[in-house]
């Protein structure tokens, strides 16, 4: 049972974070007063981000090992512009959610959502998923 789950996990990670987040995490809609950022919602978003980041890390490791086209270095640098912005935003978001400071939590959640959307766009434009999946 464990193996099919792992297989599906990686398939999901390579199909991009957008579909995962929209299906499981409620990240397809912006946060608002009527749609607040609960601890459970944040947890599910972070789980989806873990799956998506596993795909990015695979790409990075293959790039360092020179097993994929070396244009990957520029692609990674482009994506890092956004992933480096994401880390402190997530830290702030966790703090606001724990304090149930919904005004700041909603604003920060929506900022994180914008950053993740941009990461997904960069990933798609650079065919990151194809580069990983097509390598054997």
């Amino acid at each position: 049972m464990k193996r099919p789950i792992l297989v599906l996990a990686f398939a999901a990670s390579l199909s991009g974070c957008a579909s995962i987040t929209s299906q499981f995490a409620g990240f397809d809609v912006t946060a608002s007063v009527s749609n607040p950022v609960t601890p459970e919602r944040l947890y599910r978003v972070e789980q989806a981000a873990r799956v998506a980041t596993a795909g990015l890390l695979t790409y990075r490791r293959l790039c360092i090992l020179r097993k994929i086209d070396q244009s990957c270095r520029q692609t990674i640098a482009s994506i890092q512009v956004y992933t480096r912005r994401l880390s402190p935003v997530l830290v702030s978001l966790r703090t606001f959610v724990r304090a149930n400071d919904q005004i700041n939590a909603i604003n920060t959640f929506n900022l994180a959502r914008e950053i993740l959307t941009e990461i997904q766009a960069q990933r798609t434009a650079a065919n990151v998923d194809a580069a990983i999946g097509g390598k054997s």
């Binding site: 789950i5 199909s15 947890y43 599910r44 789980q47 799956v51």
Partner: protein, 67 residues
Amino acid sequence: MSPEVLALVLKGLDIIVSIASNSDLVERAGNALIGLLNKDEPSQADIDAAEVDLDSMLAEFNSDIPE
């Protein structure tokens, strides 16, 4: 099994073969997906573990690529 699920499994198998050296990522992504699929409310320990792992993964991705 639906065609969509079968397609995912086949793609996943192809990927597993290609990333055999990254078994840690297979396990971490698998754990995250299990967390997503679990309908129960996550415990604080689950939340903490997910945060630590996501931070760790982002830190690795964000580090400079060696020449």
